[in-house]
């Protein structure tokens, strides 16, 4: 790792002040950024640690409205009893990220701000129609995720929370890469008052996306059987040593079936 200057922020305002020094980056749980710095894929001059800001932590569930603070860990999301009652698909998703030690440190805000094309959370945010709250504005998830590792965030903008209305039905299924446990394809489906949404992670060439083929089929009937014979184009899907675009296209349908079955269970 190259040399770096560490700054611990005490509040969001303090973090915004401290990010102005050099080529600084925000540090949340560090489960992606620190490994990237160790391999020198990232080399910020300064780190502004958001991990000790109390106002960014915690989960609030009021009726069907859920608000999750940005530095809430995957472990805390996975084990929140109130959240499990209104949106078990999301607690299940969090329980599948990485391993127990990673879940103790990794955060929801860090995950969505990084927007790894194979991360789990972006698919949930998109399918839940979540609102991403920052220190400057509120953004619909549809407008937040911009492509591979790209979001609408400005340099001095911090995700402070995500908020959504728990849908009547939601499910998530992923086919994990056997080594990294990142999604080789993951599908999050929801059925709420605004209809059906299905978001796919791990498969898109340009990151997380909504599958109109899956959504159209599930709008007719929100059941796994509705996806029989449905195919998703492999154009614009990722191909690598783990899976070809065609293999991932097939996985999208298979994972969508499992996600719907989980949502209806």
């Amino acid at each position: 790792m190259y040399s770096v200057n560490y700054h611990r922020a005490t509040s969001v305002a303090d973090a915004v002040k401290k990010i102005k020094s050099g080529d600084a980056k925000f540090l949340a749980g560090g489960m992606t950024l620190i490994p990237a710095m160790k391999t020198r894929l990232a080399a910020p001059s300064d780190l502004v640690d958001l991990g000790h800001i109390a106002e960014l932590k915690g989960i609030k569930v009021s009726g069907k409205t859920v608000t999750i603070g940005a530095t809430t860990t995957h472990f805390d999301v996975a084990n929140d009893e109130k959240l499990k009652k209104v949106c078990p698909a999301l607690t299940h998703l969090a329980s599948l990220i990485g391993d127990p030690a990673v879940r103790h440190r990794g955060t929801i805000g860090g995950s969505i701000a990084n927007n790894d094309p194979a991360a789990d959370y972006p698919s949930a945010m998109l399918a839940l129609g979540a609102t991403i709250v920052t220190n400057k504005r509120e953004l619909a998830a549809d407008k937040f995720f911009k492509g591979l590792f790209e979001t609408a965030l400005k340099d001095d903008e911090i995700v402070t929370a995500v908020t959504f209305t728990a849908p009547a039905k939601a499910g998530y299924a992923k086919f994990p890469n056997p080594a990294s446990r990142y999604a080789m394809t993951g599908v999050f489906v929801t059925k709420g008052k605004d209809g059906v949404r299905a978001a796919v992670t791990g498969a898109g060439d340009d990151g997380v996306f909504r599958s109109k083929e899956i959504e159209a089929a599930l709008t007719k009937k929100f059941e796994a059987s509705a996806l029989e014979g449905v195919s998703v184009p492999s154009k614009n899907l990722m191909g690598d040593i783990h899976a070809s675009p065609e293999y991932r296209a097939n996985l999208v349908v298979v994972m969508a079936k499992r996600a719907v079955a989980a949502a209806n269970a």
């Binding site: 560490y6 489960m31 620190i34 490994p35 160790k38 780190l47 127990p100 990673v102 103790h104 080594a179």
Partner: protein, 166 residues
């Protein structure tokens, strides 16, 4: 450089370190606590697992400065004098190791796992929870056996304590 202050295995320690120093290097090189190992250095193998504020974390994926102010337990801090911790004793009893390199991380992960499942563990849960710990001797079978045995001893011990208290 930053001043780092921690409570490690019940002892208050401090030191001046470069900001890029990883927690595992601070433990091994500044404090000479070499029980915590560096295996893969890519956050995958879990040989470096320690407890920070009571939770298992990979100390190769956390800066020492990030941990400043925290309480850390390493493998050296588990035993009570000459008496092995129940998880250590179970690993010995069940031969839950071959070369022993992954063992400190396995034991710290196991201790954390048992703490989070006070009512006991089953084999499937243990195997799923060992996701982040790799044994390159592939001796998982006895590791799983050891963790199940330790979980049994510890939940029995906590139940009899609770009964006595009642």
């Amino acid at each position: 450089m930053s001043e780092v202050t921690l409570v490690v295995n019940g002892r208050k320690v401090s030191g001046a370190v470069e900001d890029r120093t990883l927690l595992v290097h601070f433990l091994r090189e500044n404090l000479n606590l070499t029980g915590t190992h560096v295996g893969c250095d890519t956050s995958q193998c879990g040989a470096c697992v320690v407890h920070v504020d009571g939770k298992a974390v990979k100390s190769c994926t956390m800066l020492a400065v990030q941990a400043s102010g925290s309480t850390v337990t390493t493998i050296e801090g588990l035993a009570n004098g000459a008496d092995l911790h129940p998880v250590q004793a179970a690993f010995k009893e069940n031969h839950g190791l071959q070369c022993g390199f992954c063992t400190p991380g396995m034991i710290m992960t196991a201790t954390d796992m048992i703490r989070r499942h006070p009512d006991g563990l089953d084999e499937a849960t243990v195997r799923a929870e060992l996701e982040g710990n790799i044994c390159r001797c592939t001796g998982y079978h006895n590791i799983v056996k050891a963790i199940l045995a330790a979980s049994k001893t510890m939940s029995k011990a906590s139940k009899s304590k609770a009964n006595k208290a009642a």
